[in-house]
């Protein structure tokens, strides 16, 4: 129990961020039209690829003196994270491109 309280104290800023981000996430999403559910899910999915920062830090400070399993897994994590980020944003953009096309037609 004491350790948990200590964890709370040491990470109080982060825990504040969490509490406020939850509220923010809910606020930002409410009232979204059903048409946008899929692109929104896809875009949010790309943002969750923020783990890539962790991958960069991990591989960035990895010990390169030996060729270890850890290094391979780290690089793998980085590749996976990039797939999530780049693929996620690209797919979302492609979906939204479709909506854009319709609007220009409407303007004609």
């Amino acid at each position: 129990m004491e350790q948990i309280l200590q964890f709370f104290f040491e990470n109080k800023e982060a825990i504040f961020i969490i509490a406020l981000s939850i509220f923010l996430g809910i606020e930002v999403i409410s009232n979204v039209p059903a048409v946008l559910h899929t692109p929104l899910m896809s875009g949010a999915n790309a943002i969750s690829g923020v783990i890539i920062i962790g991958g960069i830090i991990l591989v960035g400070h990895a010990d390169l003196s030996g060729f270890t399993i850890d290094l391979i897994l780290g690089v793998l994590a980085l590749i996976f994270g990039t797939l999530n980020v780049v693929g996620g944003f690209a797919v979302t953009d492609r979906m939204l491109e479709m909506f854009k096309k319709k609007k220009t037609q409407k303007a004609n």
């Binding site: 200590q6 946008l36 875009g43 591989v59 994590a77 990039t82 037609q105």
Partner: protein, 479 residues
């Protein structure tokens, strides 16, 4: 200016550190604004680019400016490896995203979600030995990141397989007990690792075992859930990936990761709940997979289904004034959106008013049908949402139901025993004539009888949606 020092560690802070933290703040803000803009049709595309810009900024500044606790930056050799790894991931991710067919989009979202989960799980796995023995806080976030990331990874892979038709359902009642036990075992084992006080370096075997357990749980968790419920599950798994990334953010004390991750986690949870609402079901109901179970117990006189020939259907459509197309899952599977648009063009040229009625959960994901029809160049103004078309449905001469089933089942109104009772539907039954295009006479995905098919005004047109529409278009052209 006096040198700044870290208020916690007292360590001297360089201008690079300040720049890095500043870039994280900007990235986090870009995530928030991007997501906000993504939720409005006019600004959605820009919002996506904003969020992507935030991500790029954070990636670049981390690679250049990040220093470890010893104060060392990222060495050149490591930087090269990072660039190569990102290059590989970016190339594959970009090409696949550009090449994939629009119909396969939901699978791809699921697949990319799996990679995000895998990255989080791997980072947690590799950081575990560095966690301090007995430090409950750092062990807690690492273990949680590992479990949640692994579940999101294997679960999303199964969801991908299901959407792609590669994986079937396991719909046994005992699955939920197995899953409950497995979840309890995984969590208890994780808790033991956190509180045992053992040296993490000596517990690597245990953390791998935990990884395996979590992967297995992810598979078994998604296995019993039906294909039509996959969007809800993917949204849920997406939320989990966000939470896993946030846990990793704790490991690195990285506020951009924490904010981005939790933002996605919260938004994903809300989106999941919104989707459940559109289907009038609770999340628990989706997860336990009660769909298709109960109901249908009522023994009702169903009558007979009446077929229609191609020429009769062509005549009926050609001499109508108002036609409404109600597309569903079957149209997406048969990739019939282009030929559907061709048919509506022919009819329009004969002076028939054609519109598309889009149910909120039509297609494989909410909004997926709009994307598919947009791809086939169906003008935006022809797509009408359920709530707007229903009041006008009784004026419609012909409603063509293409590969949709549950979203037009009147049992949602009048059969309290039906599993879909209370779900909002498109009122196809109010149209003067109804043509149902369907592959065969069987029940829909949910295994529920559809009273619409037995309606006196309904005619069945059997066959693959694409073939049927092609025949119909050819027939009308010849008239």
């Amino acid at each position: 200016m006096n040198p700044i020092s870290d208020i916690f560690t007292g360590k001297a802070v360089s201008s690079g550190d300040i720049l890095l933290e500043l870039s994280y703040l900007i990235a986090a803000l870009l995530f928030v604004f991007g997501l906000k803009r993504l939720s409005h049709p006019e600004t959605a595309r820009k919002g996506n680019l904003w969020a992507a810009g935030g991500m790029l900024l954070a990636m670049v500044t981390t690679a250049i400016l990040h220093r470890n606790d010893a104060g060392n930056g990222i060495p050149m050799a490591n930087l090269m490896i990072i660039i190569i790894a990102i290059g590989i991931g970016a190339t594959i991710g970009w090409i696949v995203a550009r090449k994939v067919k629009m119909t396969a989009m939901p699978q791809l979202v699921s697949l990319y979600n799996a990679t995000g989960g895998a990255a989080s799980a791997l980072v947690a796995l590799l950081e575990f030995p560095k966690a301090m023995a007995g430090n409950v806080g750092s062990l807690l976030v690492t273990i949680l990141g590992l479990i949640i990331g692994a579940v999101a990874f294997s679960g999303s892979l199964v969801a991908y397989g299901k959407l792609d038709g590669k994986v079937g359902d396991i719909r046994a009642g005992y699955m939920k007990y197995i899953n409950l036990v497995l979840m309890a075992v995984t969590l208890l084992f994780g808790a033991w690792l956190i509180f045992s006080g053992g040296n993490p370096v000596e517990q690597i075997w245990a953390v791998w075992l935990l990884f395996a357990l979590a992967l297995l749980y992810g598979v078994l968790f998604v296995m019993p859930i039906g294909g039509a419920d996959m969007p809800v599950v993917i949204s849920l798994l997406n939320a989990l990936t966000g939470i896993a990334a946030a846990m990793a953010g704790f490991i690195y004390h990285n506020q951009a990761m924490i904010l981005g991750g939790i933002l996605v986690g919260a938004a994903g949870m809300i989106l999941t709940i919104l989707m459940c609402k559109a289907m009038n079901r609770s999340l628990l109901n989706v997860i336990i997979g009660a769909f298709g179970g109960g109901g249908a117990a009522i023994d009702r006189e169903m009558g007979i289904m009446k077929e229609i020939t191609v020429s009769d259907a062509a005549v009926l459509l050609n001499y109508s004034q108002k036609v409404v197309v109600i597309p569903g899952y079957g149209l997406a599977v048969a990739q019939a959106q282009h030929i559907a648009h061709e048919l509506d063009n022919i009819l329009e040229s004969r002076g028939v008013d054609v519109r598309y009625a889009i149910h909120p959960v039509a297609g494989r994901m909410p909004g997926h049908m709009n994307v598919l029809l947009a791809e086939a160049d169906v003008p935006y103004e022809k797509l009408v949402e359920m709530d707007d078309i229903n009041p006008d449905m009784h004026n419609v001469d012909v409603a063509i139901v293409i590969g949709a089933n549950d979203v037009v089942n009147p049992a949602a109104y009048d059969d309290p025993s039906s599993p879909i009772y209370g779900m909002p539907i498109i009122d196809a039954h109010l149209a003067r004539n109804i043509i149902v295009m369907k592959r065969g006479a069987g029940k829909g995905y949910a295994g529920i009888e559809n009273f619409l098919f037995f309606n006196d005004k309904t005619r069945m047109f059997y066959g693959n949606a694409k073939d049927s529409l092609q025949k119909l278009a050819a027939e009308i052209k010849n008239m």
